[in-house]
């Protein structure tokens, strides 16, 4: 009889990286399902173009890299689904495809899974957002919540409408109650970190309070995809720092930058994604600076 011989440890945690990707995919898909309810077939087309392009590209790249064709992990589903969530509903189908191509290549140009500096979906959405800002047609089926708050019509928006997602916005990001529910579930499953969500919210609230007054805090929090980005994109393990303190600083700075950009109406709905890119950009630097607090790390000669 033969026995398995392996080096210690002989037990591993049950949750693998693929499980984490799967949980996030399910949560994003559920957020999208609200979009189907609100917008119908249009939302489905966006979902299919984004996700299929991501999966096909991933399949192609993995087949070139490895001897065996196939996808090695489910991260491409996460990218595609989150991208579909943050897309405006009236975006032409080819724009979704371009965004998906940018997202996948932004990951592989840095060396594949785990090596990218920027969140792929955020990068793709910001490039596309800046690109189509010249388009003259209505991307969101009406004035978005963020636009109406910034143009001074905040009285028109009721809080329960914001919570239930009855205002125009990106497909999967409008129903705040739904997203918060998934935030709690994902935190319990240890897929995303509570300190990220909390610190980002604190930073955001402080800036909005000083810039716009306390009555704008909740409408601003619930508009412009801020909560969706905080829950689904800020907590991306790859692009966030790996220490507790550094994560807090990272999330806090994201909150501040997002609040500043949103309150000054820089690029409208795209602002929060650009803010995330800035936060992503400082994450490796934070890691580098804070690594001296770890045992044994000596200064380089």
């Amino acid at each position: 009889m033969s026995y398995l011989v392996s080096p210690a440890p002989h037990r591993l945690t049950r949750t693998s990286a693929n499980d984490m990707f799967m949980y996030v995919s399910i949560a994003a898909l559920s957020c999208l399902s609200y979009g189907f309810f609100a917008y119908g077939i249009k939302a489905l087309i966006v979902l299919l173009t984004c996700t299929l392009t991501c999966v096909i590209l991933e399949f192609g790249i993995q087949s070139i890299k490895n001897a065996k064709p196939g996808i090695s992990d489910y991260s491409c589903f996460v990218t595609g689904l989150i991208l579909a969530c943050v897309m405006p509903i009236n975006m032409p189908w080819y724009v979704g495809m371009i965004a998906a191509v940018i997202a996948v290549f932004s990951k592989y140009l840095f060396g594949g899974l785990g090596n990218n500096i920027f969140n792929p979906s955020a990068l793709a959405r910001s490039i596309v957002g800046v690109m189509v800002s010249g388009f003259s047609f209505d991307l969101y089926n009406g004035e978005t919540a963020l636009n109406s708050i910034l143009s001074g019509n905040s009285a028109n928006i009721a809080l329960n409408e914001l919570m239930l997602g009855k205002t125009p916005g990106a497909i999967g990001t409008t129903c705040i109650a739904f997203i918060l529910l998934f935030a709690v579930i994902l935190i319990v499953f240890k897929v995303i970190r509570w300190e990220n969500v909390l610190c980002a919210a604190v930073g955001f609230v402080i800036i909005i309070w000083t810039q716009m007054g306390y009555e704008s805090i909740i409408p601003m929090l619930c508009s412009g995809s801020f909560i969706f980005v905080t829950v689904f994109m800020l907590s991306d393990p790859t692009t966030s720092p790996y220490g507790f303190t550094t994560r807090c600083i990272y999330a806090f700075s994201f909150g501040i930058i997002a609040a500043l950009m949103m309150s000054h109406n820089v690029f409208g709905e795209t602002a929060v994604f650009l803010a995330l890119l800035v936060a992503n950009f400082i994450a490796p630097a934070l890691d580098k600076v804070f690594s001296v607090f770890h045992r044994g790390v000596r200064k380089h000669d």
Partner: protein
């Protein structure tokens, strides 16, 4: 205090209330080494009649093992064989004659530190928690003059190891007495007992015994977290050096760490004049019928233990782990003799083990927060793959205690602990390059 992983309690543990002595097998194959780096010479010849407690091997130089015969009988042969840790050494094969004749040490009249140290040296006690080295080597005559602290680990954080805890509950007097002898060698004023939070019964038993029988004893009970590896001796020592030790307030001096089994064996060597030739081992696994704690003699084969504890009819034993589930070694065969360097033996079925394909690192930082030594396992892994030993030493690879927490928590199933351990070996052998 940071790091570590929480391992849920093994549900079967509640029934393991007694320590059973395993019946002697027909043949003993006694290993003469438990850890590499020591030299021993065999003092018996083939055909010699031996009693229980006869000397089988003794150290050639100052470092080495005293190995005593676990049974009475005749030396059949002396063979080369592998120990569980993979050391090729001489094994003495003894045929049991079932007469149970015994040989003991002379009675101890003077129990001064010097005499106790002499008895410790010849008693044949082996550490389980220091990787199988002889206990007496850590103590020296110089240490009698200085004042040191003694820590006794009475329960383990690994859910598969209950031997220390059960021994504390069942043989409290012997354990406490043995700890006092160790303390007397060190001339330390008080003894610190380390117990995990979930070892409630052991704590009760210990307090009750000391209150009733030795009210003058100066002792302290400190609770260690239930998270693995806070009972690890290397961690206790390292944290002490780092002045971040949760257990120690004193800022200078040396720490001595013993466990319940060592104290129990030392008590027997001093009071009952018995050489140490056994170890309390927790035998567990899903397909095992009589799980529990056993007195296992040195040189009992794994095959025989499996036969005695019994496996279920449809048992499919997938993996045999000698030692704790987090830090033990795997055995490739059952034809191996059980030595004295382990606390546990796990016959794991396929259901119990979780395996997965290694993926790319997703940079989540879970290993960083799990590392009890506050290292950067992800960075070390990167350097190990690139074979940059010199850079790895600058990131503190030599401080790694090989607890395996990083590999445990990694969602990408990366072989972090394994790679770090092999690079540590390379650095030790080849120096910094």
């Amino acid at each position: 205090m940071f790091g570590g992983v929480y391992l849920p309690k093994n549900k079967d543990n509640s029934n393991w209330n007694d320590i059973v002595e395993i019946r002697d097998p027909e043949m003993f194959v006694v290993p003469t080494m438990h850890s590499s780096g020591y030299k021993t010479e065999i003092t018996v010849k083939v055909g010699d009649e031996v009693k229980r407690g006869s000397l089988l091997a003794k150290p050639t130089e100052s470092k080495g093992y005293f190995v005593y015969c676990p049974t009475s009988g005749r030396v059949v042969s002396i063979i080369d064989k592998f120990t569980p840790d993979g050391i090729n050494c001489k094994h003495v094969v003894i045929k049991n004659d079932k007469k149970n004749t015994e040989r003991k040490f002379p009675e101890m009249v003077d129990k001064s530190p010097r005499e106790l140290l002499k008895r410790l040296a010849i008693s044949g006690i082996v550490d389980a928690h220091y990787g199988g080295s002889p206990t007496y080597l850590r103590y020296s005559l110089n240490s009698i003059e200085k004042k040191y602290t003694l820590y006794v680990v009475l329960s383990n954080t690994d859910p598969y190891i209950t031997s220390n805890e059960v021994l504390t509950i069942k043989h409290t007097a012997e354990v406490v007495q043995g700890a006092q002898y160790f303390a007397s060698i060190l001339s330390s004023r008080n003894i610190v007992f380390l117990l995990t939070g979930r070892a409630v019964e052991a704590k009760k038993a210990l307090k009750k015994y000391i209150k009733k029988n030795q009210p003058q004893l100066k002792y302290e009970i400190r609770e260690i977290p239930n998270t693995y590896p806070y009972d690890d001796v290397n961690l206790i020592m390292a944290k002490f050096k780092n002045k971040k030790n949760p257990f120690v307030e004193e800022k200078t001096g040396k720490v001595f760490v013993e466990d319940a089994i060592t104290c129990y064996s030392f008590y027997n060597a001093v009071e009952n004049n018995l050489p140490n030739d056994y170890r309390v081992i927790t035998v567990s696994g899903q397909d095992i019928i009589r799980k529990g704690n056993y007195f296992v003699k040195n040189g009992t084969s794994i095959d025989y233990i499996l036969e005695m504890v019994g496996k279920k009819e449809d048992a499919n034993i997938h993996q045999i782990v000698y030692g704790g589930i987090m830090s033990g070694v795997c055995l490739y065969s059952t034809d191996i003799s059980c030595g004295m360097e382990s606390h546990a033996l796990v016959f794991a079925s396929a259901k119990e083990s979780v395996t997965g394909k290694e993926m790319d690192c997703i940079n989540c930082g879970k290993c960083v927060s799990a590392c009890p030594m506050n290292l950067l396992p992800n960075k070390l892994d990167e350097l190990c793959i690139a074979q940059k030993q010199y850079d790895a030493t600058r990131y503190g690879i030599q401080d790694c205690i090989n607890c395996g927490c990083c590999s445990f928590v990694c969602p990408s199933r990366r072989y972090l602990a394994q790679r770090i351990a092999s690079t540590q070996d390379k650095i030790k052998k080849g120096g910094n390059k």
